[in-house]
């Protein structure tokens, strides 16, 4: 995977770190830079100046408040944490190639770490009905517009003399998708009403792009999160929804496993009732399915029909897991077991 010409391309960037690479290997947007001074990960992003400032602020802030399980950023020799080159921004990190400790899955580690970050940054916001109203109406409107787009696609598909396999698959699950969208909207309304009733709203620093690929392990098995480029102050539910939407794709996923992961998270921050409604709402909305329809409509040349159908079916199946998991979240906890000592006669 070594590309000698990449030494030239990345030269102006690596010069700022005094790195003269012996080999560069590409892993998507991350380049593994092997040099006499060690092995590093060079990440390419499209962040603008404002986003860069926020991103570096987030990384430093986490360190200041005592969270050290993030992949650190190395400053350039001039003390900058990013390098602007052309229309791209680069930053350098250590190359972590360790593997997870035995006894804990990647998902368990991730949910535990994100729970810690949320716990350290959780803030009860001053309740502002305008902010909550705005969030609610904005999301509701966006979802309704998306629903309309999908309905239009369903109508177009129905009018086709010969439906494609993708259109056929889509139409056979259309009713179910719409039901999930309605459920998402209902739960969003529950959250909205509860926020107004309780006059409370919590926010935390959200990673914004949680994924299995954004968790690495150092050589001694210590977990480290990376890629805080999309970090944002928002309801902690934002990260949870992204996390669970991805986790259901894993082969070992069961509804009970989801429950266990959520309780791992809740050891750091127990969710409020309205936050549970919001989590169910976020997860239930079938946006991943709608996205695969968008891909089919706009980039049809990119994949074959069978690949499109495969992608759609995978997402439909994931939504089924989500629905089961949402049922579990909304199930009231069983009553606490009776204290066995309660009926003991004390003499």
């Amino acid at each position: 995977m070594s590309h000698s010409n990449e030494t030239v391309n990345y030269g102006p960037v690596l010069f700022q770190y005094d790195l003269y690479p012996e080999k560069i290997e590409a892993f998507g947007k991350v380049k593994k830079v092997i040099s006499r001074r060690g092995t590093f990960a060079l990440k390419e992003t499209s962040l603008n100046e404002e986003e860069v400032n926020w991103f570096t602020h987030v990384v430093h802030r986490l360190s200041e408040i005592g969270y050290h399980q993030i992949v650190p950023l190395y400053p350039t020799k001039y003390g900058d944490y990013t390098v602007q080159h052309g229309n791209k921004t680069y930053y350098l990190m250590p190359w972590f190639a360790g593997s997870e400790r035995l006894g804990q899955t990647r998902e368990e580690v991730m949910i535990d770490e994100i729970g810690k970050i949320h716990y350290l940054t959780l803030k009860e916001q001053d309740f502002s009905p305008e902010v909550v109203d705005h969030s609610f109406h904005y999301l509701m409107q966006r979802w309704e517009t998306r629903q309309l787009e999908m309905e239009r696609f369903a109508e177009e598909s129905e009018r086709m003399p010969y439906m494609s396999p993708f259109e056929l698959t889509y139409l056979s699950h259309f009713h179910h998708m719409m039901k999930m969208a309605e459920e998402a909207k209902r739960r969003l309304k529950d959250w909205y009403d509860a926020c107004h009733a309780e006059k409370r709203y919590r926010s935390a620093l959200c990673h914004g792009k949680l994924s299995r690929n954004h968790l690495l392990f150092s050589h001694n098995g210590e977990p480290h999160l990376l890629n805080f480029e999309r970090a944002v102050l928002d309801t902690p539910v934002r990260d949870l929804a992204i996390f669970f939407r991805k986790a259901v794709h894993h082969s070992s996923w069961t509804r009970e496993e989801g429950g266990r992961l959520l309780s791992l998270y809740e050891r750091h921050i127990p969710l409020l009732d309205e936050e549970k409604s919001l989590l169910v709402s976020y997860m239930s909305y079938p946006e991943p399915i709608f996205n695969s329809v968008d891909l089919y409509r706009h980039k049809r040349e990119r994949y074959s029909q069978i690949e499109f159908v495969h992608r759609l079916e995978k997402r439909i199946s994931a939504m089924r897991h989500i629905r089961d998991f949402c049922d579990l979240i909304l199930t009231p906890p069983p009553p606490a077991p009776l204290d066995p000592n309660e009926n003991v006669d004390h003499i």
């Binding site: 030269g11 960037v13 010069f15 700022q16 001039y78 390098v83 080159h85």
Partner: protein, 306 residues
């Protein structure tokens, strides 16, 4: 503790040896230049403009390498040591106007942004036409060789008056500060970067360093490349309005006359002949520079009008 030990400690370097005593050190991160400063305010100016210019990665100045604590210098009990990259060789000029334009545009912008803060430490040459006039009249009585210098006086006077008028019209407009030692020869190339070596001198307020630079460019690369360079500078720092007029005023000012008079302090005949030759050449080049710049400005104006 010796300077080498200080560098090793503060910059966390494994090996540091002299490559050139008091100037260059060989380290495990390559050859580095050291500079010693005694004026903290001057040092701050050099840190700031270099940092501003170094915000991109195509045309950068030799910024101060940070210590392990993130500081820009090492305090040596009243003196300050800074460490810089050292790049040998030279960067191509003609054909690379875009890169040089980026560098000069960023230098001008930084100089303008920092003008208020560092204005008090500037150094500026004052032009005294009367002193030039008196010196040339006095010398030309004894040396016939100075006839071309004497003949240039009416035009020099006209140019000076025009320059004064332009400066007067833009008297409220702040002038950028520039490194007084701004030359093409300071540009080197590493990877694909134009690496510019700044000086450690006091900054100059105004466009004289740029005028010198443009003259150098004109001499080496010709008028076509110069116009391209001006267009490229203009993409990063506008030379079309007041700042352009102030640059024009600087080009109009007959500095070559004063430079010549300064040289004539040595009255050896061969020296005087060489001075006059050099003056004639500078005078002609400055005419071409003036012509190029006014042409370029007119062209810009026409484009706006169209």
């Amino acid at each position: 503790m010796t300077i080498l030990q200080e560098i090793k400690k503060h910059y966390e370097l494994q090996t540091v040896t002299w490559k050139e005593k008091e100037t260059l050190v060989d380290t495990d991160c390559g050859v580095k230049r050291i500079r010693i400063w005694s004026d903290l305010h001057l040092l701050n100016w050099h840190v700031r403009w270099r940092d501003e210019v170094g915000k991109n990665s195509l045309a950068v100045a030799d910024r101060m390498i940070r210590t392990v604590d993130g500081a820009c210098w090492v305090d040596l009990e009243g003196r300050y040591l800074t460490l810089h990259d050292y790049v040998e060789g030279r960067h191509e000029r003609g054909g690379h106007e875009k890169r040089w334009g980026l560098l000069l545009g960023n230098m001008l912008q930084a100089g303008l942004d920092l003008q208020k803060e560092f204005g008090p430490i500037t150094h500026a040459d004052r032009y005294s036409f009367d002193a030039c006039l008196a010196a040339i009249h006095k010398l030309s009585k004894d040396y016939n060789e100075l006839v071309s210098v004497r003949n240039s006086l009416p035009e020099a006077n006209k140019r000076l008056n025009l320059a004064m008028e332009l400066k007067q019209a833009s008297s409220q407009v702040p002038l950028p500060l520039l490194d007084s030692d701004t030359h093409m020869s300071n540009g080197a190339q590493i990877f694909n970067i134009l690496f510019y070596r700044g000086s450690n001198g006091y900054p100059e307020e105004g466009y004289r360093p740029l005028r010198k630079f443009l003259t150098e460019w004109l001499k080496e690369c010709g008028p076509y490349s110069l116009r391209k360079l001006l267009t490229c500078i203009n993409e990063h720092f506008s030379l079309e309005r007041e700042q352009g007029y102030l640059l024009l005023a600087e080009i109009l000012t007959p500095w070559e006359l004063q430079d010549c008079v300064d040289q004539l302090k040595n009255t050896e005949l061969s020296h005087i002949v060489a001075c006059v030759e050099s003056f004639e050449q500078d005078w002609d080049f400055n005419r071409i520079l003036l012509h190029c710049f006014t042409d370029w400005m007119d062209d810009k104006r026409k484009r706006v009008a169209l």
